[in-house]
């Protein structure tokens, strides 16, 4: 059995990075964190901006004659107008419905015929479409992707069944899953006044009202070359890709000026806030606590990196404080961990969570977990812990380099959430430079406020008696 809590530790880092091959050949005798500090990620990466404003990024990786081609748009669910929740994701589905040049299915058929993979995804801050194909087919991919950036065509006969698909998707993801339901309540409570509180897939009643006109309004406002980043990773160079990009994406008109991405800002409001969900389908109680924290885009220098390390040290694996103290030592929990996503345009959240062992009151686990956080805020972490965390996060970056599509995703995410190529490249140096004082300061500044609470409970849950010496 893969123990996710252990194996995922390095790999769910919000920023997965990789090191350039030439430098790797000189990897030091012992992979010590300081040795990685001056490594620059992807020195071969090239970027150009076309006349119409589209940013092109090429990440050479010549191990196999394969390319990953991704078109990223700087728009996500947090950019939706009030009442139109779900339109970013709905449009993403509708982008597969054909253009004035290529009827529905033509692009997908061509990809299938050459044995390619394709898909798309929507986040709060970005939307992306990608194909992975043998490198010979890159010009075809760029032609079709550019085509749907400018020439989407939709009929009600296509839009209405797709809306049903999305309602099924919502039912499958949220309706079937009490944890996802609680997450919707929790996020809505956390992000007061900010659209991160709205689920990416949208609220059910608002999805039901979305239509063709809404999709086009969103498309016309945001799907313009000056709002797009095209990332090509694989067996290619900028010299090869640029002429193709100019022939395809370069011919597109700048259709709109989306402007600065300023959303209503999240409010820190007083008072105890708790979301509790009891559901027949919950087997065991669990708890989560959350705080508002800065993302890479909004943080002061070094703060997001400190929070990344803090999250790892608190709850990032089998040697983390939560796992060691709550699961191994006191055995009050069967699982415990923490979560921080730094790749957002606006203020994000830092979460901790735990599932109590059978017969242990939630209250007790919660108090212990908060005591662990308070201890770090007061006393910082040990040098050994910090060193281990740095080393693991930096090594995860080397492992990540083993997969071409991962790097494409790292750069696409960063470039659509306010970062630059250079900022991604120097991430190892920033991680290596974080001090114990910075970790302590981050914990003090952000995790000593009253957190929000979420409880997922079985139906008719009753808190067990606190353990005495009853036996």
């Amino acid at each position: 059995m893969l123990k996710a809590s252990k194996l995922l530790k390095g790999l769910v880092l919000s920023t997965l990075l990789a090191f350039p091959t030439p430098l790797l050949a000189e990897t030091p005798q012992k992979a010590d964190s300081t040795a990685f500090a001056d490594v620059k990620i992807g020195p071969d990466i090239a970027t150009k901006t076309l006349d119409n404003g589209l940013q092109l990024v090429v990440i050479p990786d010549h191990r196999a004659p394969v390319v990953t081609h991704m078109a990223w748009y700087k728009v996500g669910s947090a950019d939706e107008a009030p009442g139109k929740s779900g339109i970013a994701h709905f449009l993403e589905h509708l982008m597969f419905k054909g253009t004035s040049n290529a009827p529905e299915g033509e692009f997908s058929d061509i990809i299938a015929e050459v044995g390619g993979q394709e898909n798309a995804f929507t986040s709060t801050d970005y939307t992306a479409y990608y194909q992975q194909v043998a490198k010979d087919h890159l010009p075809t991919m760029m032609k079709y992707e550019a085509d749907r950036m400018g020439n989407l065509v939709l009929t009600d006969e296509q839009v209405l069944p797709e809306r049903e698909v999305i309602l099924e998707e919502r039912a499958q993801r949220v309706g079937q899953n009490p944890g996802a339901k609680l997450a919707e309540s929790f996020d809505q409570m956390m992000f007061v006044n900010h659209p991160y509180g709205t689920p990416i897939i949208g609220w059910e009643d608002e999805i039901k009202k979305l239509n063709r006109e809404d999709a086009f309004a969103f498309y016309d406002k945001y799907y313009t070359p000056n709002n797009a980043v095209v990332v090509v990773a694989g067996d290619v160079t900028m010299d090869e890709v640029l002429p193709i990009a100019q022939e395809t994406y370069g011919k597109l008109k700048r259709r709109a000026e989306p402007g600065e991405r300023i959303r209503p800002q999240v409010q820190r409001i007083p008072g105890e806030r708790v979301a509790t969900l009891e559901d027949e389908r919950v087997a065991q109680p669990s708890l989560q606590k959350g705080w508002l924290v800065p993302s890479t885009a909004t943080a002061a220098k070094g703060e997001a990196e400190a929070l990344d390390l803090l999250s790892y040290i608190l709850g990032g694996g089998a040697n983390s404080r939560f796992y060691q103290q709550l699961v191994v030592d006191s055995q009050k929990a069967t699982s415990a961990g923490s979560w921080y996503n730094s790749d957002t345009l606006d203020t994000t959240q830092f979460k901790i969570y735990a599932t109590p062992s059978e017969g242990v009151p939630l209250e007790e686990v919660e108090a212990d977990a908060l005591a662990i956080v308070a201890d770090v805020a007061e006393n910082g972490v040990s040098q050994a812990e910090l060193e281990r965390a740095k080393k693991s996060m930096l090594a995860a970056a080397i492992y990540a380099q083993d997969k071409q599509s991962t790097l494409a995703r790292v750069f696409g995410t960063a470039l659509t959430t306010g970062a630059t190529v250079e900022e991604v490249q120097t991430w190892p140096a920033r991680i290596a430079a974080v001090t114990n004082d910075q970790i302590k300061a981050a914990a003090q500044k952000y995790l000593t406020e009253e957190p929000l609470s979420g409880y997922l409970l079985p139906a008719n849950y009753e808190e067990p008696e606190a353990k005495g010496d009853a036996q």
Binding site: M1, L2, K3, K9, V12, A25, K30, A31, R63, V66, F96, S108, D109, A112, E113, V114, G115, G116, Q117, E118, N119, A120, F121, T122, S123, Q132, A134, P161, E164, I166, L167, E168, E169, A171, Q172, G175, Q176, A183, I200, I201, R281, A283, Q284, G317, A318, N319, V328, Q331, T334, S335, N341, S357, R388, K391, A396, I398, Q401, D402, K403, S405
Partner: protein, 444 residues
């Protein structure tokens, strides 16, 4: 807790495909596989590659959860959680700390027919990483404290599964299809059976499965053949020569059975199954191509088109072949709003009947072949993926030249062969069906 915040547009199937042929492999870039045999006679397949300074190893032993004794259900799965929880002189905490310090990972997984292991390490730490792997394979401690911890985690997982429609469906469906076989039993055991397992049971299960005769190994990365030979002897040579497997009888899944479980969720989960083909069946490749057209992993499959694209009845739908050591299935799954369940089932059955009676068109076959041969290279996108393929090919007994032959095998499939296998699989057959969902009045 999963990382929130990404919705992927198109989910083709809820459950990933069967064992082998999802791994269609490269020929274009001429992956060079070396057959490495150690001094002690242990064989591994190696792809040497220094472009990323890591080493990925995948290995498996013969015998998986079907080897659990009837009164020790879940033993193999619990064993898979305990091998990195202390070994040799290192107790659980010391072992985990060392893994982290070496920035390496060990993984273990109990399959139904085989027990899988994996290792990832940076090249610079290879000697120490191999020491850790050697300890885990040869000297696991099964100490009481970590055993209780892992038991609690497994039981906690089992309890969660009891509340998850897909898991309920999977578990009940296995029992329905295989009432008298090891394949019908829950592979992770039950809460009651796992509660009773002892360290001695895990040790016995390890002794039964971990042997050299069933061992297969695939390695990719920054390591040469000589180093690998020594590594193989270091890790595996101390194991006994022969496994002590319990016989598992060849068995056919029952047909035409159906069961529904009332479960209060907004969606109904549907699974269906028919007897399939084992991996060594001469008709396996035509069946694989046929299934791709019916409900395999692309957006043009019949099921995807009919259920999702034309009718908007479901977000995900698909079918897949499940070739096992002693049985085989053709399975499929979807989930849909409860009042659509009957319609979805009808549409799916119509497609299966159509496949059995008419089969695909020549054009559909050509497209499927183009997809399956063209997607070849894409499954080679990381060292770990390549190592898994090296292992999968060995587990299926396909031969070291399989990678070069595989696309020709697909290209050679004729329309007649596809129609024939479709007829054999579907004509006059009644699928078994498992439905988990809320009770509803039928439409109209």
């Amino acid at each position: 807790m999963t990382k929130a915040g990404l919705l992927v547009s198109r989910s083709v199937a809820l459950v990933s495909g069967g064992l082998m042929l999802m791994l269609s492999v490269v020929s274009a870039q001429a992956i060079e596989i070396q057959r490495v045999v150690s001094d002690q006679g242990i064989e591994a397949w190696l792809v040497e590659d220094y472009s990323v300074p890591i080493v990925a190893m995948e290995y498996s032993f013969q015998g998986g959860t079907t080897q659990d004794a009837d009164d020790k259900l879940g033993a193999t799965n619990l064993l898979s959680t305990m091998l990195d929880e202390g070994a040799g002189e290192l107790d659980s905490q010391a072992f985990q700390l060392k893994l982290e310090e070496l920035t390496m990972s060990l993984g273990f997984n109990a399959g139904r027919d085989r027990f899988y292991g994996s290792m990832r390490t940076l090249q610079v730490n290879l000697p120490e990483a191999l020491e850790m792997l050697t300890l885990a394979v040869n000297e696991p401690r099964f100490d009481e404290a970590p055993l209780e911890r892992m038991r609690a985690q497994v039981i906690s997982g089992l309890k969660r599964e009891e509340k998850r429609p897909q898991s309920i469906a999977g578990r009940k469906f296995s029992a329905l299809l295989y009432p008298d076989s090891q394949y019908g039993r829950p592979s992770k055991g039950t809460v009651e059976s796992v509660e009773k397992l002892q360290a001695s049971d895990l040790k016995a299960q390890r002794d039964k499965l971990f042997a050299r005769d069933g061992l297969k190994v695939g390695v990719v990365g920054a390591i040469d053949a000589e180093t690998l030979k020594k590594a193989l002897d270091q890790v595996f040579a101390k194991l006994p020569e022969k496994t002590q497997l319990t016989e598992v009888k060849n068995v056919l899944p029952l047909e035409g059975k159906s069961e529904r479980v009332d479960f209060d969720t907004p969606q109904t989960t549907i699974q269906f199954a028919l007897p399939g083909l084992k991996r060594d069946d001469p008709q396996y490749i035509p069946a694989f191509v046929m299934n791709h057209i019916l409900g395999g992993g692309s957006f043009s499959s019949w099921l995807y088109q009919e259920v999702r694209e034309k009718r908007g009845l479901a977000y995900s739908v698909g079918s897949y072949l499940v070739p096992l050591e002693h049985t085989a299935l053709l399975m499929g799954s979807t989930s849909t709003r409860a009042d659509n369940a009957d319609e979805v089932l009808k549409v799916i059955e119509e497609q299966m009947v159509k496949m059995g009676e008419e089969g695909p068109t020549a054009e559909e076959l050509e497209k499927a072949k183009a997809y399956l041969t063209g997607s070849y290279a894409l499954n080679f996108d990381s060292s770990g993926a390549i190592a898994r393929q090296l292992l999968g090919i060995q587990n299926a007994g396909l031969g070291i030249d399989y990678i070069n032959k595989r696309n020709d095998l697909i290209d050679d499939v004729t329309l007649e062969a596809v129609r024939e296998v479709a007829r054999d699989l579907f004509a006059g057959q009644e699928p078994s069906i498992m439905v988990v969902g809320p009770q509803t009045a039928p439409k109209q």
